[in-house]
């Protein structure tokens, strides 16, 4: 019986999962971090967008602690980040020490932070919140497609495009819809594993048997067959990051390295989504040591490695972190924080007006809270909408976010 002392209800630590998997090679189903990519033959006039989802509800109050708000330290005597531990950003906020690798990007104004941001609707359910955020719509909306899919469609799909690729076992919610979406655990291993002599005949037979059939499964089969050719150049190609760059040896690091491999190959990658799991810190989250610190540290290292690896490509790349909700201000009796509301987003890129915390800080006094949680003063779609419009060359914001009119914060320069 393993003693579990931290966050057992969601993906938990990768360390633990890897341990649990024992010698399991391939680790496909372990769902460590799942990049999902969208790309076209050549990227037309827009940034590469990399969306990093912090699954489980990341604690924005730890990532970017409001050091100057004394209610913060009162509410979190055991799990908070203390003033002396955080890296001061401005008069109100500090940066979690684990995000120190990102400090150079803050200092040269490529990293912006949005705080008290989230879904204005404010469910505290993982599943409802995730579902609404992936689709980019109000809770209960009947819109069935993902916001990234609608963005890609708004850009216009061309026949022969390969709009999306997923390095995951399941389709990414934000990519569900019209644009073909492709997912895989490993961009270097997209193949039908059959004796070489039968390879072509097998693939042709598969193509033939799915050709006349409509429906989601045959659509997926057709995308898969198309991917076999598209990804042949990556097959078994060990990836060599730029000199001096090393990714953390975990799911997020592996995912971002794959994104970098595809982005740097020049095939026209448009959108990639990766997921980092384990943020549902109900229990034993620790402060500047312990579970969450470890997780944040790996996040900081992975993003910094990715940005360094892209090098000059970063001038036309935007990275944004998202999470389904923030966490309760008041710590609970098991040294964790339960589901909350307002959160922080990190936005990093060549076209970002960084070095600044955006959004209106609502305060943490009990009268200022929303059911005990940080109030949302900026809708996450305000951030995404501005990125779509100013960095990605999105044409119809109304199509991308049909039930929210994004108000730009001014954090992105017009491309």
């Amino acid at each position: 019986m393993t003693a579990v002392t931290e966050c057992p209800d969601l993906i938990c630590t990768r360390r633990r999962l890897l341990t649990a998997a024992g010698g399991v090679a391939g680790l496909g189903a372990l769902d460590l971090a799942a990049p999902t990519m969208a790309f076209a033959g050549s990227r037309q006039g827009g940034d590469l967008l990399v969306v990093i989802t912090l699954e489980g509800g990341a604690d924005g109050l730890s990532l970017v602690p409001p050091l100057a708000d004394r209610n913060y330290s009162l509410a979190r005597p055991d799990v908070g980040i203390k003033a002396g531990q955080a890296i001061p950003l401005d008069r109100t906020f500090g940066l979690h020490p684990g995000l120190k690798p990102l400090l150079p990007y803050w200092n040269d104004r490529r990293l912006a932070i949005v705080h008290a941001v989230g879904d204005s609707d404010g469910t505290r359910s993982h599943f409802e919140a995730t579902n609404a955020m992936e689709r980019g719509v109000r809770l209960g909306s009947s819109v069935g497609t993902g916001w990234i899919d609608r963005y890609l469609v708004s850009r216009g799909l061309r026949s022969g495009d390969f709009p999306s690729l997923a390095i995951s076992g399941r389709p990414a919610g934000a990519l569900v819809g019209q644009a073909p979406d492709l997912s895989t655990w490993d961009v270097r291993n997209i193949r039908v594993q059959v004796a070489a002599a039968r390879q072509r005949a097998t693939e042709q037979a598969l193509a033939q048997m799915y050709a006349g059939v409509s429906g989601p499964v045959p659509d997926s089969a057709r995308n898969t067959l198309a991917a076999l050719g598209r990804f042949a150049p990556f097959r078994d190609k060990a990836y060599q990051p730029r000199a001096g760059v090393s990714y953390p040896a975990d799911g997020l690091g592996n995912s971002l390295a794959q994104v970098a491999q595809v982005a740097r190959s020049g095939v026209g990658l448009q959108v990639a989504c990766v997921t980092a799991h384990g943020w549902d810190t109900h229990e034993g989250m620790g402060g500047t040591t312990g579970y969450l610190n470890d997780l944040v540290g790996r996040l900081g290292k992975a993003i910094a490695a990715f940005a360094a690896d892209l090098g000059p490509l970063m001038s036309s790349t935007t990275i944004v972190t998202m999470s389904e909700f923030g966490r309760r201000v008041q710590q609970n009796a098991s040294n964790g924080v339960d589901h909350g509301h307002g959160n922080a987003m990190l936005v990093l890129g060549g076209g970002i007006r960084g070095g600044r915390v955006y959004g209106r800080w609502p305060g943490l006094a009990s009268a200022q809270l929303d059911d005990g949680d940080l109030r949302v003063t900026t809708d996450y779609r305000d951030v995404l909408g501005e990125l779509v419009q100013r960095r990605l060359g999105g044409r119809s914001l109304g199509q991308v976010f049909p039930d929210h009119r994004p108000r730009p914060l001014g954090l992105a320069r017009q491309r």
Binding site: P8, C12, R124, G169, S183, R191, S214, V217, N332
Partner: protein, 496 residues
């Protein structure tokens, strides 16, 4: 490409297939030339595929002879022996001596997962196993988080009550160390409880968000559950009154004065009983059962009547399942439900007649790796909402490739623990003497009915033979594995 190509044209032309391969078209491209998959209307075959982990010729024959109602009642009629101890044998499954290694030293529960697969693939109590899988997934627990505790949960919560009432199952679940550990209730105490279990009890296990409970209700539910924990010495359930938070509670229409910490377990029990028989719970469970047994989109009238049946029978599972299976919606739903990966691979194993190798239990790792590559190993879904059951949740490239590649491994003995395909058994006698007859025979055996000409065309294309091409018995046997792999890779094999 038109749906109906002449076979000869395809067989003699590799250009057609090659053209298909190179095209990365959008999902809407040439949609007008495609049609939904037509499946056999044979009701016995339909029920056999939908209500089990895979139809076999014997099972279809049995179902046809008895009729759906009698067969179903037989399947639902008696609870299989629930193993009294963790180390007990499993009489209905040819898995020898599961006892010793149910959990390995790291508490990974490898053999519980292998046993779950074995019962699905080779057990006789197919409908029971289907429901066990359903309820395991409804009260989903990530085994990697709770280790050996999942073993007792499997037995005392899910298997013990899968044919009983949901109320009893949920009462067992709220005292299951695995669930308490998984959702942190074991450390929840006092006036600032850990809300994790309470929230998922409301949202996922019972009433769902449509019941419109408030944050205060979640907190009160968490307070009601304080003190339900695990004894650190025995690892068994224990109620600790000193951790229970007294004071008035309200959750939806349930209230409790909650004045005596010694009676906190009664408070929790009262709440769980209330939730299990709440109309919103009836709706949630009916919806999930209908999705599993009939498919998406769920017919709302059937959900309503199934929910009514659930409530009228005081949360009893069997009458609810019976109501759904014997409905007209069920009868009309043949082929309208996609296979999830676990369903797909068990159906492949069953339809191909693949047998278990004794090595499976001593080394279940290859089997589990196969299930992991497919994305649905038992008890490995980390979040508490369980593996999704909607088609869209599984239609990904990685899922498709994993199935196609697993199909190749299954027929070639590439999964240690499963014997290679017995070609002679698949073909039966007399052995087909033409390529076309060979394709027909394999399709019939694996899918239970003849199917589209396009599938046969594809099979012949893969071996570059015309339908009339004469083949020897040796050739027929040699070609059987690769053709069988293609049949279980087909669109027909992706639906149930």
């Amino acid at each position: 490409m038109p749906a109906q190509l002449s076979r000869r044209a395809v067989v003699t032309s590799t250009v057609a297939g090659a053209a298909l391969l190179g095209t990365a078209a959008s999902k809407t491209a040439s949609a007008e030339t495609r049609r939904p998959l037509a499946v056999s209307g044979d009701q016995a075959l339909h029920a056999a595929r939908r209500l089990t982990f895979g139809a076999t010729p014997a099972l279809v024959a049995d179902l046809r002879a008895k009729g759906l109602t009698a067969w179903l009642d037989e399947q639902l009629g008696r609870l299989p022996e629930v193993h009294g101890a963790a180390t007990g044998p499993m009489p209905d499954v040819p898995v020898p001596n599961l006892a010793a290694q149910m959990m390995d030293a790291q508490g990974r529960g490898i053999d519980l997962k292998a046993a779950t697969f074995a019962r699905a693939a080779w057990g006789d109590r197919q409908v029971y196993e289907l429901l066990v899988e359903f309820w395991s997934n409804h009260l989903s627990i990530h085994a990697g988080t709770v280790g050996a505790l999942k073993l007792a949960d499997d037995r005392a919560v899910v298997r013990a009550h899968a044919l009983g009432t949901f109320t009893d199952m949920l009462l067992a679940s709220c005292q299951s160390p695995a669930m308490l550990r998984y959702l942190n209730n074991d450390v929840s105490r006092g006036h600032w409880p850990n809300e994790n279990y309470a929230r998922e009890l409301l949202e996922l296990h019972t009433v769902g968000v449509r019941a419109r409970y408030t944050p205060a209700h979640v907190r009160d539910a968490a307070r009601a559950l304080t003190g339900l924990t695990i004894d650190p010495n025995t690892q068994e359930f224990r109620y600790r009154p000193e951790w229970h938070d007294v004071g008035r509670l309200r959750v939806l229409g349930w209230t409790h004065a909650n004045t005596d910490p010694a009676k906190g377990l009664e408070v929790a029990t009262s709440l769980v009983r209330y939730l299990a028989s709440h109309p919103s719970t009836a709706h949630s469970i009916a919806t999930k059962l209908v999705r599993r047994l009939v498919g998406d989109p769920v017919p709302s009238a059937l959900v309503a009547s199934a929910a009514k049946t659930y409530l009228a029978n005081r949360t009893a599972i069997v009458p609810t399942v019976r109501h759904i299976v014997l409905s007209r919606d069920f009868a009309r739903s043949a082929g309208r439900k996609s296979q999830r990966p676990f369903d797909w691979v068990t159906a492949a194993v069953r339809s191909l007649g693949l047998q278990q190798d004794p090595k499976m239990l001593t080394n279940a790792t290859p089997l589990l790796q196969m299930l992991q590559r497919l994305g649905q190993a038992p008890f490995e879904w980390v979040q508490p909402d369980g593996y999704p059951d909607r088609t869209g949740a599984w239609t990904s490239t990685s899922s498709m490739l994993a199935r196609w590649n697993t199909a190749q491994q299954l027929v070639n003995g590439g999964i240690a623990g499963l014997r290679p395909l017995d070609s002679a058994a698949v073909l039966g006698t007399p052995v087909p003497t033409t390529a076309g007859a060979l394709a027909d025979r394999i399709v019939q055996r694996v899918l239970g009915a003849p199917t589209r000409p396009a599938l046969k065309t594809a099979l012949l294309l893969s071996v570059a033979m015309a339908s009339s091409k004469a083949i020897s018995e040796a050739t027929a046997k040699a070609l059987t594995p690769q053709l069988a792999a293609l049949v279980i890779s087909s669109p027909e094999a992706m639906v149930r």
